[in-house]
């Protein structure tokens, strides 16, 4: 069991000395996750709101599609996005394969159904009297949308946090589209997988600790959201 202890102590040393490679991995992870979450939220929040609040033909069908995509396997997402951004693909000329942006596209595709479906659910769960109240107080269409979204803000925040957790801990898309390139597209999850396969536990554990810390922060945020949402 001493190798586990050695790995743990080595991990603490890496973190304490701000090891350059470890920091590069953390930075790549946060940047790709940031790009992916920005895209997923910009597209997903309005779409989710429309699906939850709107009344248009095909709404139920689109909702079903979005819900089905929640179970989309990450390797399949990786495969599909790979097919588009590979040199021979329709977006090959953009040179996105094995870059952070390419990785972020796949992660955004992963996060999008979560943001859309759960935002729609949050909006559907709003008390119907909220809409009537806003209308009788004189809200115009845009105000009605904004205030309704604001009214379910804690539920929407939980959606964001959940999507963030899903993206940052994902490994399949990052491996296929990023290529796990050192000092470039190596993320925490792909690095852990690589280091473990080499028997190098120290960096794997160090990164695992950082992931664990992030998971803790994410869950702390969720708990705060739930608490505020109840009041």
């Amino acid at each position: 069991m001493h190798y586990l202890l050695d790995g743990f102590l080595g991990a603490l040393r890496l973190l304490a000395h701000l090891d350059a490679e470890t920091l590069a991995i953390i930075s790549a992870t946060l940047r790709s996750t940031g790009y992916a979450m920005t895209a997923a939220l910009v597209l997903g929040l309005p779409l989710g709101f429309l699906l939850g609040y709107g009344d248009f033909p095909g709404r139920r069908f689109f909702r079903l599609i979005s819900d089905t995509l929640l179970a989309f396997p990450t390797v399949l997402i990786g495969l599909l996005v790979y097919a588009f951004i590979t040199a021979r693909g329709p977006l090959g000329h953009l040179g996105l394969l094995f870059t952070l942006k390419g990785m972020a596209i796949g992660q955004a595709v992963l996060a999008l159904p979560i943001v859309v479906s759960w935002t729609a659910q949050a909006v559907e769960d709003l008390d119907p009297r909220c809409r009537q109240t806003l209308l009788t107080l004189g809200a115009k269409a845009r105000q009605l949308a904004l205030y309704s979204l604001w009214e379910c803000r804690y539920a929407v925040l939980m959606v964001c946090v959940t999507a963030f957790g899903r993206v940052i801990t994902e490994v399949g898309v990052a491996m296929m589209l990023g290529g796990n390139i050192r000092y470039s597209t190596r993320t925490m999850t792909t690095a852990i997988a690589l280091e473990t396969s080499k028997g190098e536990f120290a960096q794997g554990i160090a990164l695992g600790l950082v992931l664990l810390l992030m998971a803790f922060v994410v869950n702390l945020l969720l708990a705060l959201c739930r608490k505020r949402g109840r009041t």
């Binding site: 009297r129 109240t133 009788t136 107080l137 205030y147 803000r153």
Partner: protein, 220 residues
């Protein structure tokens, strides 16, 4: 002869196959204070939602003289305020809720001005110390207080039409008295009031003319 505010002919509302309102004729004069009475399920709440332009009747014609409801439901809706039977307060503090309608109408109030309006309407609905309630959340209010805060939000708008759906149904005697006084004062100021209620004390306090809706849908 006083001018008509609402004029309805053959108003019918259906939810699915079920007919929930059938009103051959309705005339409401400007400045009238009317109590809508009748048994449960006779369509009082439905009629109020139609008069508030939250829904359109399945059949019949409704004329509203303050705005062209056909051309702009929004313009008509902005002349009318409706207090729901179980009012909903948004997840913001009491002052935010009371002044929400003014903000939605684009009024930019200075802090002292907002405070003055808030205190006045809260006083009108029976809060002796409005400032004590300004920062409270909806969850910190009793049922009667919520009802009165919701009414204060409507009174702050000072609109020509005030519709109320059983405002004293779920509140204590003190809140019911405060609500009756506030609505009565609005009526005296010239606001047209339509109040669905089963409460004879409220009808007396409002000195309201009674419009009885029946299940047989007698002409009103």
């Amino acid at each position: 002869m006083t001018a008509l505010l609402y004029e309805g002919v053959g108003l019918i509302q259906r939810y699915g196959e079920r007919e929930v309102l059938n009103l051959p004729r309705l005339e409401v004069e400007k400045g009238a204070v009317l109590a809508l009475t009748g048994p449960n399920g006779c369509g009082k709440s439905t009629l109020l939602r139609i008069l508030a332009f939250l829904e359109s009747p399945a059949a019949g014609e409704l004329r509203f003289t303050l705005a062209d409801a056909v051309q702009s439901g929004e313009a008509a809706r902005r002349q009318v305020s409706l207090l729901l039977q179980e009012p909903y307060l948004l997840r913001m503090n009491v002052q935010g809720n009371v002044l929400l309608g003014l903000r939605l109408r684009g009024l930019r109030l200075s802090r002292p001005e907002a405070g003055r309006i808030f205190e006045q309407v809260m006083w009108d609905v029976g809060f002796a110390r409005p400032k004590d309630f300004a920062d409270r959340g909806p969850a910190e209010l009793s049922g009667g207080e919520r009802q009165r805060v919701a009414l204060a939000a409507r009174l702050a708008l000072d609109l020509p039409v005030l519709l109320l759906d059983e405002p004293t149904a779920n509140v204590d005697a003190e809140s019911a008295r405060a609500i009756a006084e506030a609505v009565s004062a609005a009526g005296r100021r010239g606001t047209t009031v339509l109040c669905a209620t089963h409460d004879p004390a409220l009808i007396r306090a409002l000195n309201a003319q009674e419009l009885r809706l029946g299940r047989a849908w007698d002409e009103v």
